[in-house]
Subunit: 361 residues, 2 copies
């Protein structure tokens, strides 16, 4: 549902410290690290957005990079073979590039087999599943390693209980898809930690899960379990602890709103930050469906969220100003704040975060 | 999510005429009929609610019944073996009883194998899947028949497009689960047909699918596809045609609201009928979550539905008065109508339908 919106800008914010791996009794996807990032035969940085995002947001998890002989790009890590990476402590090879056509080629598959023979688990966020390939399944069994499809939900999900749990939660929500909900959640996690608060980023999409090392591919779970999966993603925590949960889709999205509402109910957020791109008039790829105004979106999110948390409120707005020059962006942030009466941030440009964090302290 | 709420009362309403089987290019579950209803080893009518509902609502699809020697109940159909049923034109055996413990016993499985050897397809709404049993899978292949798990979504589902399609649609929605959304939709379908209008019931749960012979197990689809599955359930139709769509869950339900919102968006209803049980104070099995008042529920449904159909409105209320005597029920229906200013029906007691149908003509 979501996507990174401006990887080139991610250097601006310090990556947050990551949550500990969930215990195996918790139904979440959990990834072994550090990673060897596989770049395939990519000829352009456009094809290695996943690897670049991992280096930006999870440098501690990334030990090295590896590609086919024809690979023409780098994410700036030491180049090493799977055997060398395993010798230096790598635990998994992560597919960090998008294959042409979306499916593994024979050459990519041979590379994965080589990595598994070196003792590495294999991690993929591709639509086509590693676990659907008999050769990879056989190699995993032979080597005692796992094939982890990050888009595959964990076993053991339950119907949402609606029961309140300890700890505090912030969910990023949006007036559309793909406008910065993951980036905003990462930036707020980092800022909360900088302010000395106890906070974890909780990932609900495949790129976020690879960054955080654990999480829930919420749009891939069976419909009945959406809210329950969201409950599993942010389990009970210490009273003062903040989970900052990556949102998905939008309540106003004709295709994905069911995912968004289940995630909202299961997250039971105390605070929501509404992500918005003022340059969009209609939902991405849905030219007949208008983007709601901020007041309408705030109101609907609060009404819906109060089904599971009567104190839920939208505490701020996160603007995606990628269409504007710096001066115009700063002006729009200020004008939006005056209009809505809430803190407004532009996380990519580092504007306004202190006031938002002040609401959470 | 949903359930029949009072099978004993279903005789009051004439079953609607059923939709034609969808073409195989449409992603829906489609069942071959007529059915031989399998009653297993049921000792009490409590265990054969599915078969009894089929006889009440889809008598034309039900050719006969069959049970194990220990079966002590009947739904009043001719008793016949699978070979006899096949000889009289039956095309499928339908599991119409609930096995103790929920899974097939060896004896039930032998009965299904006998039916498949007689050339019948096998249809099940149980949680445990027929298609997960290697013996049944082998028998199906050997006999050239299908194992149809009604809780298993069809292949080929897509993300919802949000695009308007021709024809008119009514969706039953609710302030809670399991309070009469299927019954209300069946009753409205029947009344529309009686009024000479072109109308089809569209089933979104397993019992409804068996009744209608086709449909969509909406709570079992992958979260990303809920709205798209709802679009497939009620495809484009003639301009004056009504699809009457069985609702699921509730926007106010802490576990299932994501399903309800995706079904709402994909159904693009012109009209919604809000089902409500005035005796409930809290959501079933969620004692901490209050049932909303009718005005709040009408408002939220209209706001959400207008994302995909700006003309959507709640046109009436369907009350479940199973806790009341007849006089008190009639009084409550009248009082609710005065309070809300909309037609109010009690479909089980046959109250108020004419005024509601008047809104749709």
């Amino acid at each position: 549902v979501n996507d990174v919106f401006d990887p080139a800008a991610t250097y601006r914010i310090k990556p947050p410290r990551w949550p500990a791996q969930p215990p195996s009794s918790v139904a979440q996807v959990a990834l072994p690290s550090p990673y060897l990032l596989f770049l395939g035969d990519a000829s352009d940085r456009l094809f290695i957005k996943t690897a670049a995002g991992l280096v930006d947001w999870a440098p501690d998890r990334c030990l090295g990079e590896w590609g086919l002989p024809s690979c023409a790009v780098s994410v700036g890590l030491p180049r090493m073979s799977p055997v060398q990476a395993a010798g230096q402590g790598a635990r998994a090879i992560v597919i960090g590039a998008a294959p042409i056509g979306g499916a593994l080629t024979a050459e990519w598959k041979r590379a994965l087999l080589e990595a598994m023979d070196a003792g590495l688990h294999a991690v993929s966020g591709l639509h086509s599943r590693l676990n659907a390939d008999p050769d990879l399944v056989a190699a995993a069994a032979r080597n005692g390693v796992k094939l982890i499809d990050v888009r595959e939900p964990p076993a053991g999900l339950q119907i949402g209980t609606g029961r309140r749990r300890s700890g505090k939660r912030l969910l990023t929500v949006g007036t559309d898809c793909a406008l910065g909900k993951k980036y905003t959640a990462l930036a707020i996690s980092s800022a909360l930690q900088d302010a000395g608060l106890d906070a974890d980023f909780r990932a609900s999409g495949q790129t976020g899960i690879m960054i955080a090392g654990s999480g829930m591919p919420i749009d891939a779970v069976v419909a009945d379990f959406i809210a329950g999966a969201a409950e599993a993603l942010s389990p009970a925590a210490a009273a003062g602890h903040w989970d900052v949960i990556e949102g998905q889709g939008s309540l106003f999205h004709p295709g994905y709103a069911g995912v968004s509402l289940g995630l909202l109910h299961g997250s039971q957020p105390d605070a929501m930050v509404l992500c918005h791109d003022p340059s969009r008039q209609t939902i991405s790829d849905y030219p007949e469906h208008p983007i709601p105004d901020l007041g309408t979106a705030i109101d609907l999110h609060q009404r819906c969220a109060r089904v599971t948390n009567p104190a839920a409120r939208v505490i701020g707005i996160s603007l995606n100003t990628s269409h504007l020059e710096a001066d115009a962006a700063a002006e729009l942030v200020a004008a939006t704040g005056r209009e809505i009466g809430l803190p407004v941030i532009d996380p990519v440009r580092g504007i306004g975060m202190a006031a938002l964090i002040g609401e959470l302290s």
